[in-house]
Amino acid sequence: MKPILKAVHLSKNFGGLQALKAIDLEVYPQKIVGIIGPNGAGKTTLFNCLTGLYEPSGGQLYFQDQPIVPELSQHIYKSIRIASFVFGLISFFWIGFVLFYTYPQTVFKLELCLFVTFIFALRILVIKYLNHYEAWAWSLYFMFLFIDTYFTIRLFLVPIHVHALLIYIWILSFIICHGYVLTILISFETRKCFGFKMGVDRISKMGISRTFQNIRLFQNLSVIDNVKIGAHICMNSGFFSTMLRLDSHVQEEKNWEQTTLSYLRDVGLENQAFHLASSLSYGSQRLLEIARALASKPKLLLLDEPAAGMNPKESSNLISLIRKIRDSGLTIILIEHDMKVMMKLADYIYVLDHGVLIAEGSTDAIRENPKVIEAYLGPKI
């Protein structure tokens, strides 16, 4: 059987701190995989990498054999950086050449030079900053290149006096702003297409859905609206069909009202469907998060400490709920501190400590593993 999720040498650094060090994971479909480890072991960081909230510093993630981390990104990064500085230098000398050899009689020579220097410092700053957003920077260079070439050629052709030169500078700086905006306009979608950035929403569209350790519900909205937002990617009525209230839109809303209610029924919150999310009890809020995550019809569900703050009865309900979800065909990755819950649920367990995978295996194997005991209780005295 092929694994649904595979991590290969996944690592994540925060400045000097290595939160994850070359993690290798394999998750098989329709299994419940547990991740345990002491506080600060990197469990939630792993989840954040899986859902795209953090971009991994190294390694690769495959979901159903598709890479999650864009592969182009690391590769292009360096060449763009070099290109940016080379381009910055070239355009600087180019303008200098035009200024000093074409218009030697310029009156405002000194100030003009100061101004041009300023503009180019600004440009380089912009480009340098944009390095984090490769496609933006990429398009920006071409824009600058185009503008410079175009205007210098025009200036050679047309008889020019000082006034027009000032206008040229003015237009130049003006177009930089426009160029910037245009570039972003052009590139914010291309960025995703070419895989420059992970895009959290793109990953959730692939079929990974999650809950959060510290509850992140939409507190001021009703329970049912929370679940409907979870179903966002499954619905597809756009601006115009909404505005004109087309039949497809009305039908979709109606269908999804029923579907969301059925999700709420599954977790046992149907009676509170129209209450505000903030009015629910802590345990119910956790259940609502699960319902919201399920509403996007995921293939892989990541649960981050679902049983935290639940009493024994609630957590036994939760266990049967999670089993039911698994039986309906989903794969589940579970972070949990409550070992009873974990041992009852998990088919396979990974143990993390300080960002390193220290053990893996079935529940029984983990229970006996001396390394795990050491990580939790400290070394033997």
Binding site: L185, D201, F218, I229, M243, E253, F274, L276
Partner: protein, 332 residues
């Protein structure tokens, strides 16, 4: 069931009554005030999309208002296009500038977003003031022809009253539909929690820009109507304080609730008219003092406004529950 019917009755009465106001004994003056009220309702509904639904404080809304007004004014003067076309073009132009402003400011939140939008509106005013070749600068544009339909030019106050009522209804219907849909829910999600919203598959870029574009185009429509109604526009009409006034309306009414923002306009605009009468001539502009006090007091005593968003939501939920209950007897 009872309050639902009551509400329906009230709405029906209002709908029947509002168009009848011009037939009563009301004077031109009252009609003018009401027209202003409706105009500001349109504007505050537009601002509400960005500030209320999406939760980004937009201090530069008046920029779009000005863009709309100048689009309408210039198009009328140079090309004398029909009113419908002008409104559409103004809306499109507003949307374009909304997108242009929205895209670079996406990463910003809170204070910085507010400041950047503020800077934008100031730049718009500076541009209008200084680019004489396009806007005639501080002289303003005067003599903008009134809109005409089927050869009849609108001139009486009640003509404009109906015109703005129609515009308001259209805007209201659009916003109502958007609010209770996938798009509106995505906006709410962004306001409540951006990270959770992303994890639910909401494309932040797309929905923020969409909110910006729709809000800006509504502002521009308001501006276009204003230009056609007032027949004179001037850069000083679109200064920052106008933004603050609109902000004041939605803060008073309740950010994020549609009826709240309309209530805000209904309360404050006549108030400022009253002040205009009471205050002596040289203190006319100082009526903004009141708006300042309202902002401060509202933030201190009732930061969610007169009709808070949560209450509007729970009302809506009650209705939804009843609707479902009617259809499905099995529901508890």
């Amino acid at each position: 069931m009872h309050d639902l019917q009551w509400k329906k009755i009230v709405i029906v009465i209002l709908v029947l009554l509002l168009p009848c106001i011009p037939f009563g004994s009301s004077t031109d003056y009252i009609l003018r005030i009401l027209t202003t009220v409706y105009l500001y309702m349109i504007l505050s509904l537009g601002l509400n999309i960005v500030s209320g639904f999406t939760g980004l404080l937009d201090l530069g809304y008046v920029g779009f208002y000005g863009i709309g007004a100048y689009t309408a004014g210039l198009l009328t003067i140079h090309f004398n296009l029909p009113f419908g076309v002008i409104i559409l073009l103004a809306a499109v132009n507003g949307a374009i500038w909304g997108i242009l402003l929205g895209v670079p400011t996406l990463r910003l939140t809170g204070d910085y977003f507010a400041i950047v939008t503020f800077g934008f509106s100031e730049l718009v005013v500076l541009f209008i003031r200084n680019e004489l070749w396009l806007t005639r600068g501080p002289m303003g544009i005067s003599g903008i022809a009134s809109p005409s339909f089927f050869g009849h030019s609108l001139s009486e106050s009640w003509h404009f009253y109906y015109l703005v009522l129609v515009l308001l209804s259209i805007v209201l219907v659009i916003i109502h539909r958007l609010e209770d849909s996938r798009i509106g829910r995505a906006w709410y999600a962004i306001r409540e929690d951006e990270i959770a919203a992303q994890c639910c598959g909401i494309n932040l870029v797309k929905y923020k820009v969409m909110a910006f574009a729709i809000s800006a185009s509504i502002g521009a429509v308001g501006g276009a109507f204003y230009a056609k109604w007032f027949t004179f526009i001037h850069p000083d009409m679109f200064k920052f304080w106008e933004s603050v006034l609109i902000l004041c309306l939605i803060v008073l009414g309740g950010m994020g609730s549609i009826y709240g923002t309309m209530l805000g306009a209904l309360l404050i605009i006549p108030l400022s008219e009253v002040l205009r009468i009471i205050l002596p001539q040289y203190l006319m502009n100082s009526r903004y003092l009141i708006y300042g006090i309202i902002l401060v007091i509202m933030m201190r005593l009732r930061p969610d406004g007169l009709i808070p968003f949560q209450i509007a939501q729970s009302q809506k939920n009650k209705h939804a529950q009843k609707r479902l209950f009617r259809h499905h007897e099995t529901y508890p």
